[in-house]
């Protein structure tokens, strides 16, 4: 009986012994645990409102080639406890966020731009003191985080932010994209080494197929000056209303109220000769700015195309499971049709690890192409997204002398370490280009554009299998005959400075060459654009004296600053001190949200004495077509042993008990 008592005591004490050990083991594990999205856990506590963002209202105004966007996020607390909300949301990679304000009880508080650390400290202080406050931070150039502190029960707090972006037409088609959701990102970074900007990876997600929990209302107004020839919205149902041939208003159909799980895409074309080249001037009190959009020449067919080597790098990770991978397979099949028998190719599949089709690239014979499709065929999507390792493997494939190489990356881009990939591509580019195909309804455009930019290629987005064939055809056209190469922009008699970009990349797509800059003195002299089209030299010139500076062009300040910031930090990625200081200064001077500057608004009234409240992360929907595997978090379930094992245990106990009793009876008898 003594041993039984000991066993009983052991059982009762076990939780007290194990508790602290589990806690300390957990602390160690938390530090080593990688950043990861997770599925939302619905709390049983009715006093807590876990869905504070109720509504997003977007107003888009397109005047000429500039889009101005106002986003109003409405937060409400329908619970009975104060909450502090955080919402991670996407934006265009080109967005220059220049204003924010918080509206609380009909009072509008205009946000200030502050250095990121300082803004964070102010926000935390206001939160502790029980003041309502909002803080807008940039996690990535296309991922923002909004924090709203002290939303009291029954409160409605709106936060309004404004941004502007330049719409650059491709082959005469303008495209405006309003991303609505940040897809779940794969990260191999541990929590301990993650920066503040990386924390967005740890966002809660609803399960696949569940619609967005907050409403989306979007209206757009186009005022193009030239009649709109046609428009389309492949992502959403819209209700159009014409106010004239050059004025169009659109709003989302009522059925799209909860459609914040895919990018809103609006395309339109103008009547007449596509886009005319043009120069916009702005004359401000402190500085003057210009924007040159120079329409390139028509594409010239090159008769002698040298053989090329194509390495297709295909993402087969968990987030590609299902529809995205099916689309990628269709795209691969179409891309193989692009190849000529003189070309060579290879395929790298990657998720946690990577595999190649062959050690060296294979001739694009029908048999080898079939072999490639068989290699890809059984993939179903699973595991992480070790993109950099896959690119290392692709670049390590032995090169053939005298053959130009193109790396073709096919992915949804759901990773967190974009800058690392940009740096790698830039450092290892050698007479080749990297082209990116983004697959899905809400791809990471920052990664796609950044890799293409670093790799001197082009990004494409394929949101459904039906678009794969056209994308493959465009890719073939780009590769076979770039529009303009060796581009140079020179100024004579026009005092231009701080010109962006410093070096204009080759043009594959038929889109205008875009150059921003500042100017001094009088708008006179000539701007000359030179390059090569096919084998011929190309030259075009523009006269600043023919363009009138206009007050309407003040958005050029933001757009220039945003372009400079992009070149310094977004795609530069090195993060050195000089670049950091320059970006911070640009943010503060031009009132822009950057990696190092944030917007903060504080209501000075103390509304929640003591600042007690729960932190609530707004759950995000999974983008359409993305499966639960994209979240891919390894949750352990503690299944108990099967009944058969317990029955065996009972039999053992019974046998033991009988033997004990028999021994006792034997000893009593003797």
């Amino acid at each position: 009986m003594k041993s039984s008592k000991r066993l009983l005591a052991l059982c009762l004490l076990a939780p007290f012994w194990l508790g602290p050990r589990i806690a300390s083991a957990q602390e160690a594990r938390t530090d080593h645990q990688t950043l990861s999205p997770y599925f939302v856990v619905e709390g049983a506590d009715p006093s807590l409102d876990q869905l504070p963002l109720k509504d997003t209202r977007v107003e888009v105004t397109v005047v000429g080639v500039v889009a101005d966007v106002t986003v109003r996020q409405v937060y409400e607390n329908r619970g009975t406890r104060p909450i502090h909300a955080r919402y991670v949301f996407p934006a265009s990679t080109r967005a220059a966020v220049y204003a924010m304000s918080m509206i609380i009880r009909d009072k509008r508080i205009v946000a200030k731009v502050e250095e990121r650390e300082r803004g964070k400290q102010h926000f935390e202080q206001a939160k502790r003191e029980g003041k309502s406050a909002s803080l807008l931070e940039q996690s990535r150039p296309n991922v923002f985080s909004m924090s709203v502190a002290n939303i009291m029960p029954g409160d409605t707090i709106s936060v309004e932010l404004s941004y502007t972006e330049l719409l650059v037409p491709t082959a005469g088609t303008y495209e405006f994209v309003y991303p609505t959701v940040v897809g779940p990102r794969y990260s191999s970074k541990s929590r301990a080494e993650a920066s503040d900007a990386d924390r967005f990876v740890e966002s809660p997600y609803a399960h696949e197929g569940e619609p967005s929990r907050s409403e989306l209302h979007l209206s757009a107004r186009l005022s193009t000056g030239v009649p709109v020839r046609d428009f389309s919205c492949p992502s959403h149902q819209v209700v159009p209303k014409w106010d004239g041939p050059a004025r169009l208003r659109l709003s989302l159909a009522e059925s799209e109220r909860f459609s914040g799980n895919r990018d809103f895409v609006l395309r339109f074309r103008l009547s007449g000769e596509e886009v005319s080249s043009g120069l916009l001037l702005y004359q401000g009190p402190d500085e003057n700015l210009f924007l040159l959009m120079a329409q390139p020449p028509d594409r010239v067919r090159v008769e002698e195309i040298p053989p090329r080597e194509y390495i297709f790098v295909l993402d087969v990770s968990g987030s590609m499971n299902g529809f995205p991978l099916d689309t990628a397979k269709k795209l691969m099949a179409d891309l193989t049709q692009v190849l000529r028998p003189t070309d060579t190719f290879n395929v790298v599949l990657f998720a946690d690890g990577s595999r190649t089709l062959a050690e060296t690239s294979l001739p694009a014979s029908p048999e080898n192409l079939r072999r490639a499709l068989r290699f890809i065929g059984p993939q179903s999507g699973g595991g992480g997204t070790e993109l950099r390792a896959a690119l290392e493997r692709a670049f390590a494939i032995p090169r053939l002398e005298g053959v130009s190489r193109s790396i073709v990356l096919i992915t949804d881009g759901y990773i967190e370490a974009e800058a690392d990939v940009f740096d790698y591509v830039r450092d290892h580019l050698d007479r080749g280009n990297v082209f990116c195909f983004g697959i899905g309804s809400s791809v990471n455009r920052y990664l796609l554009e950044g890799v293409a930019r670093a790799g001197q290629g082009e990004p494409f987005v394929v949101s459904k299998p039906g678009e794969a064939e056209a994308a493959a055809a465009t890719f073939r056209e780009y590769i076979q005959s770039p529009v303009l190469t060796g581009i140079e922009v020179t100024f004579s008699g026009f005092d231009a400075y701080d010109v962006e970009p410093a070096k204009v990349p080759d043009l594959f797509a038929r889109r205008p060459v875009v150059v921003f800059g500042k100017w001094r003195g009088r708008p006179q002299g000539t701007i000359e654009l030179r390059g090569r089209t096919g084998q011929e030299p190309y030259r075009a010139s523009f006269s600043p004296s023919e363009a009138q500076p206009q007050e309407d062009h003040r958005a050029l300040r933001y757009l220039w600053a945003r372009t400079r910031i992009a070149n310094l930090s977004d795609f530069g990625g090195r993060g050195d001190e000089a670049a950091r200081a320059a970006v911070t200064q640009l943010g503060l001077t031009y009132n822009l949200l950057t990696q190092y500057t944030s917007f903060i608004a504080v209501e000075e009234l103390i509304r929640n004495a003591g600042g007690e409240g729960r932190d609530v992360d707004q759950p995000l929907p999974l983008p359409v077509g993305v499966s639960d595997l994209a979240v891919g978090q390894a949750v352990t379930g503690g299944a108990e042993p099967e009944l058969a094992y317990l029955a065996a245990a009972l039999v053992l106990m019974l046998v033991g008990s009988r033997r004990r009793r028999a021994r006792r009876a034997g000893s009593e008898a003797s």
């Binding site: 939780p15 589990i22 619905e42 709390g43 049983a44 503690g638 108990e640």
Partner: protein, 178 residues
């Protein structure tokens, strides 16, 4: 075997069968009567909340651990119900005594299932954090062996408790069954 013991054991066997049937068809929501106290005790011991997730169970995000349907402890409760019923019904008796045997068996097996399952889950969480898996010792195997060991010890303790309970509830003047 006395008639009343047979009656008590019949009721207990029927209850075991009913539990097994219920377990087979129940969802997580239907098992909250046993999952809730288990989740609360585990949360108390670990110091981190286990929150109910519809259709999944009680989840701890810090521990990345889910107390789901398959770890409700019902298998233990079924085995414990049989064992305690067998131990408590030895003294025979009629009417009220039979009801007492059944009631005490159900109460003991329920309390035992919650407590022992809590210990099993705590050890499982600790083993997960310790990351002991290597070669043949996969995480699943370690988890299963741990479960068997804890349940076996739990059944032994419960056996002792049931005997004590039987002694305490034994009518005066009755001897121990032979």
């Amino acid at each position: 075997m006395s008639g009343s013991r047979a009656a008590a054991l019949t009721v207990i066997v029927l209850a075991m069968w009913g539990l097994k049937r219920h377990y087979a068809s129940a969802g997580v929501e239907d098992l909250r009567w046993i999952l809730w106290p288990t989740g609360k005790l585990v949360a108390l011991a670990t110091g981190s909340p286990f929150e109910f997730e519809r259709g999944a169970g009680y989840m701890s995000r810090p521990h990345l651990f889910l107390i789901e349907k398959s770890c409700a402890g019902l298998n233990f409760m079924i085995a414990a119900l049989g064992m305690t019923g067998f131990a408590l019904s030895r003294d025979g008796g009629r009417g009220v005594r039979t009801a007492w045997t059944v009631g005490a068996s159900v109460a003991l097996s329920y309390a035992g299932a919650v407590l022992v399952n809590t210990v099993r889950i705590l050890v499982a969480i600790w083993l997960c954090s310790a990351n002991l898996a290597s070669g043949w010792w996969t995480a699943a195997r370690i988890h299963r062996l741990e479960g068997i060991a804890v349940y076996f010890a739990g059944l032994m303790v419960l056996d002792v408790v049931a005997r004590r309970f039987a002694e305490a509830g034994r009518p005066r003047g009755c001897g121990a069954p032979s």
